[in-house]
């Protein structure tokens, strides 16, 4: 559908900005209510234990203590293996066991101190490979591996598997396996085969806003202010955790201080203030500290891997044989390793590929999606290997990647799915032109005093959209367009970007468009989660569908009142008018009044059958307020949506100190039609910088003896600061529309992360030669050891070091 994009695709300032810049924007911990109590948690000091007994009497007897919550107060989960807000069998250090609500935080903290807790220590394990050894501990009493969704099993590999592996990855029986073509033949036919053991560490998300949450009950409903990425989709999660019906939950969360996948449907602690509030009959604020954020704030699963890749002389990848052991954490089977395998196939499109993998439970914090889950790990592991092959085969690093890259006709991964579009070669070409690749790569190996320059290029990809959600919009008698959004606002801007499609279709200026977001009591459509780069694609479509529905209704209203056929009318300039005569007809304000008078489908009293029940509830809230557009995205489509980013990095490695300075970075995105250029540039640069952190500075250390975090604060975890990044970062975009979205846009949040991470690792490798340890992060000490030919402090597969 061709629409005139006056707003969509332009730079603008989102409607939340002034509130954010003046301190008026309220995040979870900024809400207040009369009589509000404060919650504090008793966290497990041990990585695995069982509560033998607890004595709460002294805490309960304290003046000012209003309620105490234990795991016994929580509703059971449908799947007995699932995590709850509190536990009687902590599976990692820092897992919450008891929550106390008191009149102030110090009182709650003192009450926690007065709880007598008798814990029985249980065997624990933090290294997946260790857990696979015969006789080694399991992270849970039921086992160390998911047999199926609701059952665990114990998996141990014969000791010979470990002995024969040496320093390579031991590869016993996997829990997942697939093959395309004939890997043995593909490797045998290759002119060059590399065989590497690789590592990518786990990493906490550390959004700057800790997952604090405030809750209270009113009129039988739970009002909750969580720190959550999604809005509408947080409701069922809260309801499930608290044990009530979704109709009893109102989520109010206009702002979220970062999530990166760690707060997709809200957070695990949401039930704590909700249930404490119910017990105490007062509002409860649960303020989460940074150390707690490290404990129950989610993390990316780490990989221990081995890859064999075969190459023809010209650089074409003939076969990939990939094995990944995934550090699953204690709860919920994580899919990163399976996604990673599909991405490996997508990048290099080999005819022959085998993937084997196993996800092993450990007594380390729970894992969850982190921006490009599986994608970042495999990109950081494999892209430097492509450089190694390029060097061996004397090929240009872009040429070898373009040769293997996917295009729109590619079928990828284990299920050989189609893509909606892929313009990867175009992205490489655009980047090569922008950075002047021939000149750029000449900097490789140049020295300046003690500094040596390296350059790197890397491809990154991730899923970028979904389909079939609903749009819900209203033109009211004030003449304004109200776009109701059920997606969240964690800073990407998509809650506003996707609304602009409706404004454009109806010819309504942005000043007369009101985006309603962050409050489920105001009427929301069924929406995708605010995650996985889905919203730009999914909700440009959904809002287009709703706007198309509204436009038709406005035409019908005009035809009813002024005669003729609806098709004889058009909408724009604040009016619905006879085609060819823009001053005729009626204003949208008048049309909204007429919609209310006509009622029925016009003002939302009748809604389409095919919309989701959530949208029907939202429409019921808004019915009678104006002319309503409400529709499901039925545009359809075939194939998976992926967006791509190519990153170009230039680093200087100081041979004397091991310090790495990234001096230049350019990210080229392939995201279809750009929704918001400045927002896109920010995603590409910001994601890349998060990748820089994983490449070279960010730590995740657990003490192997006690299973305790040594990096639970920001100053020890060391995420990138403003001094760790290039002073200027560059961005370009391919801009070819995705043919399966009527608007042509794909999402972008995920792919930039891996591009930044891998491009920097490639550049470090370019500067100092093939890395001794093929692992990330590449810390200063490891680089210095390599430059000084000193032994490394640990081997490639060492985890949590």
């Amino acid at each position: 559908m061709a629409i005139e994009k006056k707003l969509f695709g332009q730079d603008y300032s989102t409607p939340d900005l002034v509130a954010k810049m003046t301190g008026k924007a309220r995040y979870a911990e900024d809400f207040r209510a009369e009589g509000m109590l404060f919650a504090k948690l008793l966290l497990s000091p041990m990585p695995h234990a069982r509560v033998r007994s607890m004595d709460l009497s002294a805490a309960l007897a304290m003046d000012g203590v209003k309620a105490i919550l234990t795991a016994d107060d929580l509703p059971a989960t449908e799947n007995p293996l699932d995590e709850r807000s509190l536990t009687n069998e902590p599976l990692y250090q820092g897992e919450p066991i008891v929550a106390v609500a008191a009149v102030d935080e110090p009182t709650a903290a003192l009450a926690i101190e007065k709880i007598k807790l008798d814990l029985e220590p249980l065997p624990f394990v933090i290294d997946p490979l260790e857990s696979l050894r015969p006789g080694a501990p399991n992270a849970r009493r039921e086992g160390n591996n998911y047999k199926d969704r609701t059952t665990l099993q114990e998996v141990k590999w014969p000791i010979e598997v470990f002995r024969e592996a040496g320093d390579h990855l031991p590869m016993g029986t996997p829990d997942t396996e697939w093959t395309l073509g004939d890997v043995e033949k593909g490797l045998a036919d290759a002119d060059y085969v590399l065989d590497e053991t690789l590592f990518h560490q786990s990493q906490t998300h550390h959004p700057l806003e800790p997952r604090s949450c405030m809750a209270y009950w009113q009129g039988g409903k739970l009002y909750i202010h969580p720190s959550t990425q999604s809005t509408q989709r947080t409701v069922p999660n809260v309801a499930r955790m608290v044990g009530i019906d979704p109709s009893q939950v109102v989520v109010i969360a206009e702002y979220c201080g970062g999530g990166f996948g760690s707060k997709i449907p809200g957070t695990i602690n949401m039930a704590i203030p909700a249930l404490l509030s119910k017990k105490a009959n007062l509002p409860v604020m649960h303020r989460v500290s940074r150390a707690e954020e490290n404990a129950f704030g989610r993390a990316r699963p780490g990989f221990q891997g081995r890859v064999k890749m075969g190459f023809r002389k010209d650089g074409r990848v003939t076969a990939i044989d990939l094995y990944i052991v995934q550090d699953n954490g204690p709860y919920g089977r994580q899919g990163d390793y399976e996604t990673a395998a599909n991405i490996a196939h997508l990048y290099y499109t080999p005819e022959n590929m085998r993937f084997r993998g196993i996800t092993v439970l450990t007594n380390t914090p729970p894992r969850a999606a982190q921006r490009a889950p599986g994608g970042v790990q495999i990109t950081a592991m494999l892209e430097p290997m492509i450089d190694k092959a390029a060097k061996e085969l004397n090929l240009d690093r872009i040429a070898i990647r373009k040769l293997n890259a996917p295009d729109t006709t590619t079928k990828y991964g284990s299920n050989q799915h189609n893509l909606t579009s892929a313009f990867v070669r175009e992205a490489f070409d655009k980047g090569a032109e922008l950075v002047n690749w021939e000149e750029f790569k000449k900097a490789s190996g140049q020295t300046n005093g003690s500094k040596i320059t390296g350059v790197g290029v890397a491809l990154s990809a991730y899923v970028a959209g979904s389909r079939g959600f609903d749009g819900l919009i209203v033109v009211k008698p004030d003449g304004k367009l109200y776009v109701h959004q059920g997606i969240g606002n964690l800073g990407t801007g998509s809650f506003a970007d996707t609304a602009r499609v409706a404004s454009d279709l109806l010819g309504i200026p942005w000043e007369d468009t009101v985006v309603v977001w962050g409050d489920t009591s105001k009427g929301v459509p069924y929406s995708c989660v605010q995650a996985g780069s889905q919203t730009i694609h999914a909700h440009t479509r959904a809002n287009l569908a709703a706007a198309t529905d509204l436009k038709r209704k406005l035409q019908e209203i005009a035809a009813t009142d002024m005669g003729g056929s609806p098709d004889g009318y058009d909408v724009g300039g604040g009016r619905v008018f006879r085609k060819g005569s823009p001053g005729s007809g009626m204003t949208l304000a008048k049309a909204a009044e007429r919609a209310i008078a006509l009622a029925g489908k016009f003002d939302g009293h009748e809604v389409p059958e095919d919309i989701n029940a959530v949208t029907k509830e939202g429409a019921a809230i808004l019915q009678g307020q104006g002319a309503m557009g409400v529709a499901k995205d039925n545009y359809g489509g075939e194939g998976d949506l992926w967006s791509f980013v190519v990153g170009f990095a230039k680093v200087e490695v100081d041979r004397e100190t091991g310090h790495i300075q990234i001096v230049d970075y350019t990210g080229i995105s392939e995201v279809g039609v750009v929704a918001n250029p400045r927002g896109l540039a920010a995603q590409v640069a910001g994601g890349a910088i998060q990748g820089f952190g994983l490449a070279m500075s960010q730590k995740w250390i657990y003490d192997p003896k006690w299973g305790v975090s040594a990096t639970h604060r920001l100053y020890t975890a060391k995420p990138p600061s403003i001094l760790d990044v290039p002073l200027v970062m560059h961005h370009g975009s391919v801009g070819i529309p995705d043919p399966q979205n009527p608007i042509g846009s794909k999402g972008v949040g995920e792919a930039p992360f891996g591009a930044g991470c891998a491009a920097v690792i490639c550049a470090i490798q370019d500067a100092i030669g093939e890395l001794d340890l093929k692992r990330s992060p590449m810390m200063t000490d490891l680089i210095l050891n390599q430059l000084e030919h000193l032994p490394q402090p640990y081997k490639v597969l060492a985890t949590h070091v």
């Binding site: 603008y12 300032s13 002034v18 954010k20 810049m21 003046t22 301190g23 008026k24 924007a25 309220r26 995040y27 911990e29 900024d30 207040r32 509000m36 404060f38 003046d63 000012g64 009149v103 102030d104 935080e105 110090p106 009182t107 550390h206 959004p207 700057l208 806003e209 702002y255 201080g257 970062g258 999530g259 990166f260 604020m285 940074r290 964690l490 800073g491 990407t492 801007g493 400045r678 927002g679 540039a681 920010a682 640069a685 910001g686 994601g687 910088i689 998060q690 952190g693 604060r713 920001l714 100053y715 995420p719 990138p720 600061s721 403003i722 001094l723 990044v725 002073l727 200027v728 970062m729």
Partner: protein, 209 residues
């Protein structure tokens, strides 16, 4: 004068006068803070004899704000939980992230690591104190709104306070100088590139004023 000397010597307010002032000014609403509740709880315990005066007046955003402050209380807590100034964020509680940055006599400080009592007699400026009463944004804020700075913006109030101090100290910074001036603030969305763009235009906007 050291902070402790100032505490000892600040004679400006007696308890009796403070209470009168609170009643007259109607400012008690927020002072009856969330970490202080009469009747129960640790915070309701009376001060021991000889302890630091609890009822003090802070000069915040150009206003005198009477407030009941414990001796161990941090400025971030006082601002957020007693004065209703929730624009100042707490991201780490311990001087690591800079989200709680406020200006004390024009100098950026981590308010999570400043004892409230040490801010007596000083000018405290928070994010809420930058825009004019009619809503006109501070040039730094305007530059950021125009440049669509920040993503989740939880770090923004802290960064903005650092930027306000920066443009005063160094009205014409280079990009590297701006980065250095803002290096006490973390952004986990890592929107540093756009933040630096905004810092440069913030300096430009400020020079025009």
């Amino acid at each position: 004068m050291s902070d402790s000397e100032m505490l000892d010597k600040d004679p400006s307010i007696s308890r009796r006068n403070f209470i009168k002032g609170v009643i007259a000014g109607g400012a008690a609403t927020y002072s009856a803070g969330y970490l202080f509740r009469s009747g129960s709880g640790l915070m309701a315990q009376p001060s021991a004899a000889g302890a630091v005066e609890r009822l003090i007046t802070l000069r915040v955003n150009g206003q005198d704000r009477p407030v009941d402050v414990l001796k161990q209380e941090t400025l971030a807590t006082t601002l957020r939980y007693k004065l209703g100034l929730t624009g100042t964020k707490m991201g780490c509680d311990r001087a690591e992230c800079g989200s709680c940055t406020v200006l004390i006599d024009g100098v950026p400080h981590y308010s999570c690591s400043v004892l409230t009592h040490t801010a007596r007699g000083k000018q405290v400026t928070t994010i809420e104190g930058l825009a004019a009463p009619d809503g006109t944004l501070h040039p730094v804020q305007q530059a950021i709104v125009d440049g669509a700075g920040f993503q989740c913006a939880f770090c923004a109030p802290g960064f903005i306070m650092s930027m306000v101090a920066m443009v005063k100290d160094n009205p014409n910074p280079t990009r590297a100088e701006a980065a250095h001036a803002l290096s006490g603030n973390l952004c986990r969305c890592c929107d540093y590139n756009k933040i630096l763009d905004c810092a440069m235009s913030a300096a430009e906007y400020s020079r025009r004023v």
